[in-house]
Symmetry: C2
Subunit: 156 residues, 2 copies
């Protein structure tokens, strides 16, 4: 069990208590699966992961719990280019939350880059804002996709 698991669970329980909501087995299961999803997922993949782990929860509960996790500041919604469904990202206690996405293969590379946060803070300060987060996604072509494309070309 990674060391982050206990604190995150505590954060969620604290939030639920503050809102007079209950910490149920289903909510615990969803949170645990979110943490194992390693950052980025959608409602459906989460539901499948839970099913594969033998944790059966209804779709409605997944959506309801994702909303709570969002309110608790644990995840944020996230829309990939061309995706039709909302993706979620685990943000609490996590750096980085930046990604590079391949527009051809869908490949996703997390980026570790403090400069994004620094840039964000500097820009916000210049306008007198205070920040609560940011989203930085680079769209591009991965080396694999590029070489696959050139293979396709030369084989014609």
């Amino acid at each position: 069990m990674p060391p982050i698991l206990a604190p995150l669970c505590a954060v969620f329980r604290r939030y639920l208590k503050s809102a007079s909501l209950r910490y149920t087995g289903e909510r615990a299961d969803v949170l645990a699966t979110v943490m194992e999803a390693d950052g980025l997922f959608d409602a459906d993949s989460l539901l499948m992961d839970m099913h594969n782990a033998g944790k059966e929860v209804s779709k409605a509960t997944v959506y309801r719990t994702l909303r709570l996790l969002q309110d608790a500041g644990i995840v944020t919604p996230f829309m990939l280019l061309d995706a039709k469904v909302t993706h979620y990202q685990l943000v609490y206690g996590r750096d980085p939350c930046d990604y590079m996405v391949c527009v051809q293969t869908g490949e996703l590379v997390p980026l570790q880059c403090d400069e994004v946060v620094m840039l964000r803070e500097r820009l916000a300060l210049e306008h007198g804002w205070t920040t609560v987060g940011h989203r930085f996604v680079i769209y591009g072509t991965s080396p694999q996709a590029a070489s696959a494309a050139s293979r396709d070309l030369s084989s014609q």
Copy 2:
């Protein structure tokens, strides 16, 4: 008429021709309204803008044309935090495409910052990727929202 109008229209026509598609009055109206929307909009607001300008187009055509504009590289879809609908952003020939969004008021501030592009290119290069674009959004609280909040507190 801003100087960008003619070129953008030409870009669209070129794209349509290359795909054996037709440049119709409806598509011209949609593009013109997109350009006047000054960057960020959704399908519904676009439809209203067109109605207010006396340009009647069906909702289906708006969606279909937005898809074409996306394929032509003129706009990209864009999901604001908590928004339920897809927003679109005019990207062709436009810098900046970065924003700061107030999570309380929805206020939107476009950011002019070359460093984002530089950072993007450097990160992509480090991984051997080539980029086609990026998305950078800062979520925060604007000075107005912050002062409104403190007023609310002191009046209680």
